[in-house]
Amino acid sequence: MQIEFTLNGRLIYEETSDDETLFHLLRRKGCYSVKCGCETENCGLCTVLVNGVSRLSCSYLAARADGCDVVTLEGAQKEAEEFGSFLAAEGAEQCGFCSPGLIMNVLAMEKELDSYEEENVKEYLAGNLCRCSGYMGQLRAVKSYLSRGENRNEC
């Protein structure tokens, strides 16, 4: 079937099959930032934004993206670099394989959460697994990022 959707700001028409996942389609279109770590919606590596909401592309049929606005890290380079600089300042990107998924979810969280209390942040990001960092460095980076430009620490 043919679907039509916006990918990183560009309208595209694409042939897809009934069972193709959005993850496969995105990699096919050269969005190599999107990674897969588990195939079972447990790790968060394949997180992308569909109409501004975090979605796990490994378990999201490509056909469902028809008519939607899809953003991967390729389409959020400025934001990635900004939050990424906080991550790198902690050394918390480590292998970097889970970074794109985490960053997409942090960007979604920033828009969605009213309060950046530590417990809220941890709960929001709980689906983003990381095997290198033990999460503490990521948390330090998220805190510094969310309170950037402020004198006080919000969480």
Partner: protein, 760 residues
């Protein structure tokens, strides 16, 4: 060379950070050519079986299928997938495809096609006739079992490790120092217990993967997510029975390894497809495959006997380890050694020790190398036993360690007789005790709501490289405008060694970090390095960098003397210029770099290898605070305090992240991550739905500090950090739970059910 630390011991960012956080295509699958054949492995549904016929006729007719290989199509030459220095201690017990299936998931056929759909379709159409055999699934019964896992005549053990395929033995051995039995009989207090650890998965986020192609010279090029590029080259040569000169191995960015990628798990499959078809080929393991057919930790059952006199002074330790290597022997003979060699030497006082072991084959998934490499298992057992001994004596668990722990200057009979030149274990303990407020919290605090908080403690050590075996090499070149290229053979798998090794070079050459370009690793280009494992990278490769920089400085002075037409011994090099303090002559490094590109006979290149006769241990103390629900047995980790002595921290941020990450993995091992089999030998935890990795909600609060000693044989006083960090959570958390509710769980993971059953 006497240089100051400017870049070393600072938290510079990783050189690849920006590419990683902006999601650039730098990993194996991002780089694979678009026309790669897709390679998959058809896997055995039986734990033990012999293949009769394989009917591939229908599968071969599937549109897009290019090649299907069976055991009849591969060299009948056994090899090991273990990434170790040749001759490998791991037995040569594998073929690329074998007629005998030894675990559920063993490779029965290789299928390659133009698309994943075609390959999946073809896999369903292959008909394999299996003669199902009785499996050996209980590792306690495997030794001398009537069923042999490896009855084949061409099974071979290259090293004297006590292996015997006619007894299902991958290795056995032992050593004794002093009279253990007699001393234990005289002890006032003796603990004898058995501890059981599981075959945990490294679960790095990037699963196993590799692709291969033939280059312009017809050579096999292999791009692999590996920690051991040079071992991959040798192992592929053995497996494919082709000369090593025909193989090139390249490592791009790696999405984590933790030892998993110290075994050549996936590379042989695309390699043989490329050799057979001449086509580029790639394999990407699913998480399912990475769970059921990979290289996890060796399951071990460890019996500890330890005794003390009436004052709590240890008299003797006796450790026997039974290790389950599974269907193949990768890292079997070596991991087991660490269960004794990296646990018993934590204590200086015992006048006798004994360490014995058996490593057995079973029809479970083959084990491999996982961060800690046997030390993790041994330390869980010995540290738990010490805690039980303290309880028996009625002594504080910090106190018993203060009385008995190893100290700087000690000679360690259970650690190859090495002298301990750097050790801040005592300071680590004192600081951890302060951070945890141990005296206030020990042993437990009743919260009054059915929950009790308890604290627990454990110590740990590891090594720094394999003494007398591992080799690290680097090459250093001076380029125009005076920047350097540092070629390393060590594999940065996310840990940051490309950056930390550049930090060492930067200080040795007194230049900015940006002046050092790091290249690694490509077996056609990089100097030989055994690889990034055994906590060797900073300790060994770092020293090779120090040596090479020394040689480079000397060569720069030679050139300076030539260009300034004066005696070399009147000159100095300060990192940016060669100058003559007495006469005022000088030439900049930039000018030297540019001048050598015209009319020059001496290449400004320096190379150095380094090996070490000793393996200085890093040390660590971990303390856990847990809250246990008395009604359900559920334990929540509240706080984890860790104080580490890794020598000088070359990059404090990266050392901290290593520590926090290793602790989280250790917490997973302690509380969540289990590997179990059905009675037919099928592994149950075959996805992240069943194999529970700790999320950020499960790790509590982790607090890390460093108490550095100075290791005289390491670069700038550094030892190692990568592995030791996973060793304390299991014993410390088990002990905290015991302190809270009296439930001593001796089998990992410590689930609520096990705690509940032990609550008195």
């Amino acid at each position: 060379m006497n240089v100051k630390m400017r870049t070393v011991n600072t938290s510079v960012q990783k050189k690849d950070a920006k590419a990683l956080v902006t999601g650039k295509p730098v990993f194996t699958d991002d780089l694979a050519p678009g026309d790669c054949l897709i390679v998959k492995v058809l896997r055995s549904p039986h734990a033990h079986a012999l293949i009769g016929q394989i009917d591939t006729e229908k599968a071969n007719k599937v549109d897009g299928i290019v090649c299907i290989l069976t055991y009849q199509d591969v060299p009948n030459k056994r090899f090991t997938m273990a990434g170790q220095t040749y001759p490998e201690p791991s037995p040569y017990d594998r073929l690329i495809l074998d007629q005998r299936m030894r675990f559920v998931g063993d490779a029965a056929a290789i299928v390659a096609g133009e698309t994943e759909e075609a390959v999946d379709h073809a896999m369903r159409l292959i008909k394999v006739d299996y003669e199902v055999l009785e499996p050996v699934l209980d590792f306690r019964k495997a030794k001398d079992h009537k069923v042999l896992i490896h009855p084949e005549d061409n099974w071979e053990s290259l090293c004297p490790v006590g292996a015997d395929n006619r007894r299902n033995l991958c290795a056995c051995g032992g050593e004794e120092h002093g009279d253990v039995n007699e001393l234990l009989e005289q002890c006032d207090y003796v603990v004898e217990q058995v501890y059981h650890t599981k075959a945990n998965q490294q679960a790095m986020m990037e699963t196993f993967r590799a692709y291969s192609y033939l280059d312009a010279y017809g050579r096999l090029n292999m791009v692999a997510s590996t920690q051991v590029t040079f071992h991959v080259r040798r192992i592929l040569a053995h497996a494919l029975d082709i000369p090593k000169s025909r193989i090139r191995v390249i490592k791009p960015r790696i999405g984590g390894g933790f030892g998993a990628k110290q075994t050549v798990v996936a590379e042989v499959y695309p390699a043989i497809v490329t050799m057979k078809t001449g086509r580029a080929a790639k394999i990407i393991y699913s998480r399912y495959e990475s769970q059921i057919a990979s290289s996890p930790r060796h399951e071990m059952e460890i019996r500890v006997r330890v005794g003390a006199d009436k004052n709590g002074i240890l008299q003797a330790i006796d450790v026997y380890t039974l290790s389950n290597t599974g269907a193949y022997g990768e890292h079997g003979p070596t991991t087991v050694g660490l269960s004794g060699h990296k646990s018993i030497p934590l204590y200086r006082t015992p006048r006798a020790f004994r360490f014995a072991y058996d490593v057995v084959y079973t029809n479970c998934m083959s084990a491999g190398a996982y961060r800690g490499y046997g030390a993790t298992q041994g330390i869980f057992a010995v540290e738990s036993a010490i805690n039980e001994l303290a309880e028996k004596i009625g002594m504080d668990k910090v106190k018993i360690r203060e009385l008995n722990m190893v100290r700087e200057g000690d000679i360690m009979p259970a650690y190859y007789g090495e002298t301990l030149n750097s050790c801040a274990l005592d300071r680590c303990m004192a600081r951890a005790k302060e951070m945890m407020e141990w005296d206030r919290k020990y042993p437990s605090v009743d919260m009054g709501n059915g929950k009790v908080r308890g604290v627990g403690v454990a110590m740990a050590m590891q090594g720094s490289a394999i003494s007398g075996v591992d080799v690290a090499s680097v090459e250093l070149r001076l380029n125009d405008d005076g920047f350097y290229t540092l070629m390393i053979g060590a594999s940065d798998m996310g840990t940051g060694c490309d950056t930390t090794l550049a930090q060492v070079a930067s200080d040795c050459l007194e230049c900015d970090l940006d002046q050092i370009v790091v290249h690694g690793t490509d077996t056609d280009v990089s100097p030989y390095d055994s690889g990034s494992y055994a906590s060797s990278t900073m300790y060994l490769t770092g020293m090779a960098v120090v040596k090479a920089c020394g040689e480079m400085r000397d060569k720069i002075l030679d050139k300076g003397a030539e260009y300034l037409s004066c005696e070399k011994d009147t000159l100095e090099f300060d990192g940016s210029r060669v100058w003559q303090p007495a006469g005022g002559l000088e030439i900049s490094l930039k000018d030297i770099g540019n001048k050598v590109m015209c009319s020059n006979n001496n290449m400004l290149s320096a190379g150095a290898s380094h090996t070490s006769p000793v393996s200085p241990p890093p040390f660590m103390v971990g303390m856990a605070e847990v809250e246990v629900d008395k009604e359900t047995g559920e334990a929540e980790l509240i706080d984890y305090v860790a104080v580490v002595d890794c020598g000088t921290t070359i990059n404090p941020n990266l050392a901290r992240i290593q520590t926090e990450g290793g602790l989280a993995q250790g917490i997973g091992m302690a509380l969540y991550e289990d590997i179990t089999y059905t009675d037919k030998g099928q592994m149950i935890q075959n996805s992240f739905m069943q194999y529970k990795l700790p999320s950020r909600l499960d790790v509590g609060n982790i607090r890390v500090e460093f108490e550095s000693s100075y290791e005289p044989t390491g670069p700038f006083g550094a030892k190692s950090i990568g592995e030791i960090v996973i060793n304390t959570p299991s014993p410390a958390i088990a002990d905290a739970i015991a302190s809270a509710v009296g439930a001593r769980v001796r089998e990992l993971p410590i689930t609520a059910e096990k705690v509940y059953r032990e609550i008195k």
